[in-house]
């Protein structure tokens, strides 16, 4: 959970509002403590994915993003963004003066207390775009295919002005630049923290500065006295306590030890909290989407009939009933929660209709009258049980049509290194990250994948590649929508290489005295400040 961000209406979309009045105006001061179930492996915003929620508190960004309106919120370091041509190939970014790094005592790292300039922004763009382990490169590769090309393409004509021109249009560019991985880091910090870089330390100009980082224990942040927005943040500090056992985490919240719940909440927890006006609880469709991934160049997954049999022998309604407490929807290649980009529910429900009889026939036609056996690998992540829960249910469902799947739970490190990156799997199962833009989920099906180096499943389909490329250049939303729906229908008929399961709801909870500017599932307003700035707590006497 990200402090200050979220969605859904207060106390849920379908529940009465709490009786406790909300005091105003906001009171500055105080700290909040928030739980967290997952260890933070690192907080380098350009590289680490497990600490992105923390990065947004420590570093400045160009601007914020309202996913519902798909619009930028000019609330951060950028004063102005110009797109002079109608294809948005060129961007001219003007920074606000006075965006200043926090003070730090490490003399080996320069830039403490210094102002962020266009040179810092350029260095950040190049680092984010070319870092070999950067999570996505579709956008930076449009600026330059490597560091030298990016260096040549990005201009800094003035102290606060940076510009670049992309080699071809890329509609998601404007969304990408507000992504938590596009943090602005001082050039001196980048140069002085080579090697492991910023994985375990932070030197930023965000609303908070890092006091202590112990990724499997706690993260302590204090207010940045140099922060460029006057009178913000309201809070003096935020402490994030890592507890990997979910029930312990839930207890810490209920006992008032944590102000913001970090546990992975279920509908049952939500139903419990909603009745108590001590809590503020929220729910919204989850953008995480679990997928079965198949290596389509290997037998028997190279046959569409086999993939279809696997697909239609999944009883998605049962998954919603058993795993998601009866609450959820069908996902297409793009999650259902991305409403206007996803396929209609009726179409998905008809297409994915559970049909074990037909599955048996398809298997027989494909040359597997008695079914087949295979292994599905899944990551074992401490504190996260739903991956194994869904996989176990899938195994049982497939067994009914003669597909005997052995589940192999693999430690996360081994899973990434020896399974996913090595392409060492026939089938694998894990949830994709919560993307709120359609390009990223689609690019997993692109021959070049998200990094330009190919996809895990070895799936190639030139017709689909063309559609994915086309939508990324269509500025007319209606036209783009048509292309995206067409691409998804093509993917559906391929029954792979990813089979999306069902979409769940996300839940969040906090104590009544903690106030966020917007909640889980809600769109932030035009006037909202960067993450963490507008969060405040009522003070006790």
């Amino acid at each position: 959970m990200i402090v200050g961000c979220g969605g859904g209406s207060e106390n849920g979309n379908d529940q009465p509002a709490p009786s406790r009045p909300v005091p105003s105006p906001p009171v500055p001061g105080g700290r909040i403590t928030q739980g967290r179930p997952l260890t933070v492996l690192g907080i380098d915003p350009h590289i680490d994915l497990t600490g992105l929620d923390i990065d947004t508190l420590l570093y400045p960004y160009l601007y914020g993003w309202a996913p519902g309106r798909e619009a930028r919120i000019m609330n951060n370091a950028a004063a102005d963004i110009e797109e002079p041509d109608d294809q948005s190939l060129e961007y001219i970014i003007t920074l606000k003066p006075g965006v200043t790094n926090s003070p730090w005592e490490n003399n080996r790292v320069g830039g403490a207390g210094e102002e962020i300039t266009s040179e810092d922004l350029k260095a950040s763009f190049i680092r984010r775009g070319t870092s070999i382990s950067a999570p996505d490169k579709r956008f930076p590769r449009k600026i330059g295919k490597d560091g030298n090309a990016m260096d040549a393409a990005i201009k800094t004509p003035e102290k606060y002005v940076m510009s670049f021109t992309m080699t071809e249009p890329f509609v998601p560019a404007i969304r990408e630049m507000a992504n938590p991985t596009w943090a602005i880091v001082s050039k001196k910090v980048i140069e002085d923290t080579l090697g492991k870089g910023l994985s375990q330390v932070a030197h930023g100009a965000g609303p908070f500065m890092l006091e202590e980082f112990r990724g499997n224990e706690r993260v302590v942040m204090n207010k940045n006295p140099n922060y460029f927005i006057p009178d913000r943040p309201y809070l003096d500090g935020i402490t994030i306590v890592v507890i990997t056992e979910n029930s312990s985490l839930l207890t810490a919240f209920k006992q008032g030890q944590h102000d913001v719940a970090g546990a992975i909440l279920t509908k049952e927890d939500y139903d419990e909290f909603i009745t108590d006006d001590q809590y503020r609880v929220f729910t919204a469709p989850s953008l995480f989407y679990p997928c079965v991934h198949m290596k389509v160049i290997r037998e028997p997954f190279d046959q569409i009939k086999v993939r279809e049999a696997i697909n239609i022998s999944i009883n998605r309604d049962q998954i919603i009933e058993i795993i998601q407490n009866g609450r959820g929807e069908y996902n297409g290649p793009i999650q259902w929660a991305q409403t206007k980009w996803s396929l209609p529910q009726e179409e998905l429900r008809e297409f994915y209709k559970y049909d074990p009889e037909r599955a048996r026939t398809l298997l027989s036609d494909a040359g597997y009258p008695n079914g087949f056996s295979s292994t599905m690998k899944l990551p074992k992540i401490t504190g996260v049980s739903f991956i194994a829960d869904i996989a176990t249910l899938l195994k049982a469902q497939w067994a009914e049509v003669g597909i005997n799947i052995e589940l192999e739970e693999v430690e996360l490190g081994t899973f990434i290194g020896s399974v996913l990156l090595a392409g060492n799997f026939d089938m694998t199962f894990f949830p994709n990250l919560p993307y709120d833009e359609p390009d990223r989920p689609l690019s997993f099906y692109h021959s070049l994948g998200v990094t330009g180096a190919g996809n895990w499943t070895n799936y190639t389909n030139p017709a689909l590649d063309d559609l994915i490329n086309k939508q990324s250049q269509q500025f007319d939303e209606t036209e783009r929508q048509k292309t995206i729906l067409e691409a998804q229908r093509l993917i559906l008929n391929e029954h792979g290489p990813q089979l999306t399961i069902t979409g769940d709801y996300a839940y969040s909870a906090r104590w009544h005295y903690v106030h966020f500017p917007f909640n889980l599932g809600e769109d932030p307003s035009e006037t909202v400040n960067p993450n963490g700035c507008d969060t405040w707590r009522e003070q006790t006497a």
Partner: protein, 323 residues
Amino acid sequence: MRDFIIRRLLLLIPIIIGVSFVTFILFRFIPGDAAVFVCQLQCTPETLRDIREDLNLNDPFYEQYGRWLFGLPTGDMGTSFHTDLEVTTELERKYPVTLELLVLSLLISLLLGIPGGILSAIRPGSIVDFVVRLISVFWLSIPSFYLAILIITFGAAWFGWSPANFATGDVVTFKDVLRGQSLMTNLETFFWPSVVLSVGIAAVIMRLTRSSMLEVMRNDYIRTAYSKGLRERAVVWRHALKNAMIPVITIVGLQIGGLIGGSILVESVFALNGVGFYLLSSIVLRDLEVVQSMVLIFALTYVLINLIVDVSYAWLDPRIRYG
């Protein structure tokens, strides 16, 4: 006795080399790669190669192992691949947590197990014996992980209790108490985790004490003691207990391994951030020098506690001589 202790302490040297070498070799055989965790999800073969180079993982194994081993006498246990923090620095913070957990658990298991076993043995077949045996079966059959979750869930629901360290992630150890922090906070943090860890061993001690006491109580010298007119308490405490304790103490020594293993789970549920949890997360991250050092620390703890156990034999039975 002194020679025996010196010999046992000298034996620590081959133990250190043996345990660390086996850990080092086994770690190379299990799948997974520390470099992958450093570069994370989208890393390429080139990045992996560079990171391995940076972490000296491409060096011959004997060089890697030798570097770590020869650092030990100077107190250098290496550096975490992942956090860049020195292992000894982390150990200074985390070992007091695990040590206190182990010591308290051991004390509680002895306090629960020995009196329970004695009570059961001096009244065999009675209702007390039945209850003690029932409790011991219950304690043996309940997994410590499950018991820990029950204590946390129902402790909060019924008594409004939860471990103090949940609020900050900071654990107040006995070392901190000596520096002026609250003993109550310390006990509040460690009491229940120690109880969870101790019940399984307490049950074993209870059952073994019972059978050992029953055996001893049938001996002629006990009958003689009774016939001399000694009171039951004197017979049990002065004549029977010491003799019955030798097999019990042996088992206590062997159970230390179970305690250490259990501490990993208990630390995780109670968020104690001790050596056990550190070891577990380092195994997942393939953080070789941390794993090697933590395994070594556990091995040394095991050996030293067993040395104390061996020395205690001589106190229990003066006939035992260490030559």
